[in-house]
């Protein structure tokens, strides 16, 4: 989704109105309950969150300083950026792939069932299809990607093949490299 993302992909940006900001805040809290205690970090009272509009019906919420915090897909769901997730690793349910999958995932490949069924992989959270998830890797501390589950964790355990998680944002993609939007 962000493979070729750069500042060129931005089609417009504006400071959010306080009503928009409140709506985004409560939607994000509803979606990631653990974030509530830290909501001030993302929506400080005296600063305006910036809504960045990008090609492909994509929005990025950025701090007033231009740090991308969350992105929102076409269907309205919010995802933390990887840099946000590294600071607050409890925001998303997690799945841990085996070592062999790392190089593919950080090149943007979707997470395939075998990468989660190896004995060195761990399905750490129970998820339904359609849920935003964080992808971790065997013996690595930090998440390497975020994506959307394409099947439930129960199905990941019994299926032999197929896409388990669609990779939306990964370490090294355009959004990762864009630590500040100008």
């Amino acid at each position: 989704m962000f493979k070729r993302f750069s500042s060129e992909s931005v089609s417009g940006q504006s400071a959010m109105k306080s009503s928009q900001q409140r709506a985004a805040r409560s939607k994000i809290i509803a979606q990631m309950p653990g974030i509530e205690a830290y909501a001030e970090d993302f929506f400080p009272k005296k600063e305006k969150t910036i809504m960045v509009k990008c090609a492909g019906h994509l929005f990025i919420l950025a701090s007033s300083g231009g740090t991308p915090l969350f992105f929102q897909t076409r269907n309205g769901e919010y995802f933390p950026t990887l840099r946000t997730l590294h600071k607050y690793p409890f925001l998303l349910p997690s799945l841990r792939v085996d070592r062999g999958a790392i190089k593919h995932v950080i090149n943007g490949a979707d997470i395939m069932v075998p990468g989660l069924r190896s004995e060195r992989a761990v399905i750490e959270s129970e998820v339904e299809a359609g849920t935003p998830v964080a992808i971790y890797a065997e013996s690595k501390e930090h998440a390497i990607a975020v994506g959307i589950a394409r099947m439930s964790s129960a199905e990941m355990r019994i299926n032999d093949k197929g896409i388990a998680v669609e990779n939306l944002h990964y370490v090294s993609d355009g959004l990762w490299k864009c630590s500040e939007l100008s």
């Binding site: 709506a23 205690a37 009272k45 600071k87 761990v122 013996s139 501390e141």
Partner: protein, 228 residues
């Protein structure tokens, strides 16, 4: 959709207020854990976290190397497998010949004192010496279906606190680790995943457990030396 103001004044108790229990004072306000936000180290050369550098191309990696050497030495075994293998081989030879090697730059900070764990004497309540040999034994077990765990026996025999060991395993392997009780009623730690060889190395380097008392239970259920 009422935005809850949550300034720090909520927490301060005015001196005139009647004493209330903390729960009554702060109705379901979620509490922050002071650990967050975590501060994560990224390589200033390429933006990757240090632990992912092994997936870089060799040429790119060369550029990051010096920064990594200074700032993330704990990732060396993954990042510099060749260098580390050479160093380990040199250590092994030195050990055989009974000489000590000069520490490498990255070893210096934590190697000021030689660390050697010695088994502590085990006494039964009657005061007699127990017959349990002072060994560290690493076995594999299964949890929740397919999930594999490494069970570490015998740390207590070397005076290593299980809590410290579980923490160290968590930190070094970035995986779950906890203190638990084995079926035969011994205090053990359990590490997620198959970590026998990794933990053997850790026990030796972190607490100076002699290599010849560390054992692994292999696939044939035989107890074999971790460092043959």
């Amino acid at each position: 959709m009422s935005a809850q103001p949550s300034s720090s004044t909520d927490v301060a108790t005015p001196s005139t207020a009647t004493e209330l229990s903390p729960q009554e004072e702060l109705p379901q306000k979620p509490e922050r854990d002071p650990r967050y936000p975590l501060s994560v180290l990224y390589c200033p050369v390429c933006t990757f976290p240090p632990e992912l550098h092994e997936y870089h191309s060799r040429t790119h990696f060369e550029k990051c190397k010096e920064w990594l050497r200074k700032n993330a030495p704990q990732h060396f075994p993954d990042l510099f497998p060749d260098e580390c293998a050479a160093r380990l081989e040199a250590l092994r030879l030195a050990e055989e010949q009974g000489v000590s090697l000069p520490p490498t730059t990255s070893d210096q900070q934590d190697n000021n004192q030689p660390k050697v764990a010695v088994p502590i004497e085990q006494k039964t309540s009657g005061g007699k010496k127990k017959k349990t040999p002072a060994h560290i034994v690493l076995a594999l077990g299964q949890r929740k279906g397919k999930k594999q765990v490494t069970i570490v026996y015998g740390l207590d025999l070397f005076g290593i606190k299980l809590k410290d060991a579980a923490k160290a395993a968590k930190r070094k392997f970035a995986t779950g680790s906890s203190i638990t009780i084995s079926p035969d009623n011994r205090d053990v730690i359990e590490i997620q995943g198959s970590r026998q060889q990794d933990f053997a190395q850790l026990a030796h380097s972190e607490w100076g457990v002699p290599k010849d008392v560390i054992f692994i239970v292999n696939a044939q259920k035989k107890k074999v030396k971790a460092f043959p």
